[in-house]
């Protein structure tokens, strides 16, 4: 459904997207995972035809996408990071406007509006101005607008930013449903757990480049069978990280804001020794978390920094 090949974009001298390639099949949910500023939004802006690429190509449903292309856009449902609805209009009016903008005739548009209101759980608030909605309801409507023309590809740009846990769960559930219904979904996030829950395949982006791609298990296997241990310290985290890095069983130890993140095999066996070494480095331990291998560990392993940086 979507084929992205060697996509490039620079702003001035700064490279925002560098040689990015991936594809998404029908019914597949693909996650673009990366920290803020990794180039995710720039990439999807080019895929949605909002931004011209300096190089490479985007093909949606067999048709090339560009800033000047018009027809192919009806295949793409675009849900921006912002809550992009009109606050003075009701939920139904917003949906109807965007449905008509997509070229649907009045009757079909009205029918789609009704369906979408049901899908996003806003039927009982259909005639209320969206400015009276909670953040979560607005987010759901925001996604609904992206679905109004029955797109083949749905692009969701960090749709859960600033959403309460309950609404977030509802949004994630909706996205899961869409994938099951055969829609190709491109989902960008910097929340590892969202990517793990929703995505069939994941592309990891950092500093404009796609540094790894695969299913979650494929990506996790790249870091081996290693555990990730987070040791929170009161102070001297850099010294603690350096001391831990000297241990023979430690693969890497990184200092991230008073937390030392350690990659190693069989963390449980070596935990006592590591805590002792932190104490010897003059630091005081505040807490310890042990994680089995996950995407956070993958990112840390690939980039040497945490996903939330």
């Amino acid at each position: 459904m979507l084929k992205v090949e060697r996509l490039k974009k620079s702003f001035g001298g700064r490279v925002a997207v560098n040689d990015v390639s991936f594809h998404i099949e029908e019914g597949e949910t693909y996650g673009l995972l990366g920290p803020n500023g990794a180039g995710k939004t720039t990439t999807i802006s080019m895929i949605a035809g909002l931004l011209s690429a300096d190089g490479g190509s985007v093909v949606v449903g067999g048709e090339p996408m560009s800033v000047g292309a018009v027809g192919v856009r009806s295949l793409v449902g675009y849900v921006p990071q912002e809550i992009a609805v009109y606050p003075e209009l009701t939920a139904a009016e917003n949906l109807l406007f965007f449905a008509r903008l997509q070229g649907l005739d009045r009757k079909l548009a009205a029918s789609r509006v009704s369906e979408i209101l049901e899908t996003v759980g806003l039927r009982d608030r259909a005639d209320d101005p969206t400015k009276t909605f909670s953040g979560g309801m607005q987010r759901r409507l925001n996604i609904g607008v992206g679905l109004v023309q029955r797109p083949k590809l749905l692009i969701l740009d960090e749709p859960t930013v600033g959403v309460d846990p309950q609404s977030r769960n509802a949004i994630l559930h909706s996205v899961e449903q869409l994938g099951n219904e055969g829609l190709a979904v491109l989902y960008t996030t910097h929340y590892m757990e969202e990517a793990e829950r929703l995505c069939d395949r994941i592309g990891v982006m950092d500093e404009g480049s796609l540094i790894a791609e695969g299913t979650q298990s494929e990506l996790v296997s790249t870091v081996g069978e290693r555990d990730r241990v987070e040791i929170s310290v009161v102070s001297l985290s850099a010294a603690a990280a350096a001391a831990l890095a000297d241990l023979p069983f430690v693969e890497s130890a990184t200092d991230v804001e008073n937390t030392v993140e350690v990659l190693l095999s069989d963390a449980g066996t070596h935990l006592a020794e590591m805590l002792a070494r932190v104490g010897e480095a003059g630091s005081m331990v505040r807490g310890v978390n042990i994680h089995q291998p996950d995407l956070e560990a993958v990112f840390l392993n690939l980039t040497g920094k945490a996903l939330r940086d």
Binding site: F11, L51, R73, Y78, P80, E82, A84, V85, Y86, E88
Partner: protein, 387 residues
């Protein structure tokens, strides 16, 4: 076309539900026009700023009658002096704004039908309305005298002698000056109409500019990206957005024309004049608004810039007081603002009751809109963003 209308009507609906639009576009100009006209509407009449005239009549035969006629025509401050020197002195020292001089030679010529008559208008260059009125008075006198002299020539040709009674009778037969002439040539708006037009154009600028700035707001809120992601061309999206700004301007003017006419008794003049000037005002406001927006980094800055530009142009352009009676520098500067041309257009259209009088102003306003709009178009990426 369908998509343009779709975007424009959506924007209009969105704006009409926004209370701040009603306050800015309808309520504020209406209330201000009402309040200012209530506390002293006559003070804002352009007529009240066309102050003093002096009639110089060296012999006293025509002068008293002319002063009376001018007073009847609505010119309140008209005095009579005996010599041209006194008339010029009155203008030079600011006592009068214009002098209509009929010297001894002129009076002698009244009885000598072969002699060329000359009426001199001596006016303060900073009082164009006073000069215009004085010139029209002089022309009216000349026209009246021409008619009288034809009668007198026929009278003399028949072998009769001219006496002062005969001359007076001939002059009375053809009125020298009519009320209509004076008011029309002065292109004067009454206080209520002046304030209604002034407040309307002043706030129209803000409401139309607000419509253009809405593009920046939509960029910030993400809806503009959503519009651009739809299967329509970018040009259609932009035309739709700008059309909505224009529609809000026309809506605002329409409501204000009806409201001030019904509630305050304002006389906006012929419909075609109103429509043409509303078109020109909206076009110029859109051009200026678009250019201002392209120089702004964000919505807040655009709102600040447009507030400053709108206020300065409104003050300079005579939305609050008739700049025509101000100093030369102010009058020249005011011509750089659309507001001044709207006021001038309505002075001609409503003042004279002829829509065609507004054509020059409509032309200039359209050109202002075109020129500013063209520069804004060249800088359009600053408005629509990199998306």
């Amino acid at each position: 076309m369908r998509t343009i209308l779709l975007i424009a009507t959506k924007d209009l609906k969105n704006r009409l539900r926004d209370r701040s639009f009603f306050i800015m576009a309808i309520l504020a100009p209406l209330v201000l026009a009402f309040v200012l006209s209530s506390v002293g509407g006559d003070a804002f009449s352009e007529g009240s700023f066309a102050p003093s005239y002096v009639v110089v009549d060296a012999t006293g035969e025509l002068g008293p009658g002319l002063v009376e006629t001018l007073a009847d025509a609505g010119l309140e401050d008209v005095s009579l002096v005996a010599t041209p020197a006194l008339g010029r002195e009155a203008v030079d020292d600011g006592t009068a704004d214009a002098a209509i001089i009929m010297d001894k030679a002129f009076n002698a010529g009244l009885t000598d039908t072969a002699q060329q008559l000359e009426i001199v208008v001596y006016a303060n260059p900073d009082s164009p309305i006073a000069r215009s009125v004085a010139e029209s008075v002089a022309e009216a006198i000349a026209s009246g005298i021409s008619g009288s002299r034809l009668s007198l020539t026929a009278y003399v040709a028949a072998g009769n002698f001219l006496t002062s009674e005969v001359i007076a009778a001939a002059s009375a037969a053809t009125p020298l000056v009519t009320v209509d002439n004076l008011v029309a040539e002065g292109r004067i708006l009454d206080g209520v109409t002046f304030l209604s037009v002034g407040m309307s154009i002043f706030f129209l600028f803000f409401s139309v500019q607000g419509g253009v700035i809405e593009i920046l707001e939509e960029r910030r809120d993400g809806t503009f990206a959503r519009l651009l992601a739809a299967p329509v061309s970018r040009a259609v999206v932009m035309i739709g957005k700008l059309s909505s700004a224009a529609l809000t301007g026309f809506f605002s003017v329409g409501v204000l024309v009806v409201a001030t006419s019904l509630l305050l008794g304002a006389d906006w003049g012929p419909v075609f004049g109103i429509v043409g000037l509303a078109f020109g005002a909206v076009a110029s406001a859109m051009g200026v608004g678009a250019l201002v927006a392209t120089f702004s980094k964000n919505v807040e800055q655009a709102q600040q810039f447009s507030g400053i530009v709108g206020t300065v142009m409104g003050l300079l352009g005579g939305s609050f007081f008739p700049v025509a009676q101000g100093p030369t520098a102010l009058r020249v500067l005011s011509k750089l603002t659309p507001h001044a041309w709207v006021m001038e257009g309505f002075s001609g259209s409503a003042g004279l009751g002829r829509a065609s009088e507004a054509l020059p102003a409509i032309g200039v306003l359209s050109l202002i809109g075109l020129a500013f709009g063209l520069v804004a178009y060249l800088r359009r990426s600053r408005l629509t963003g990199v998306l």
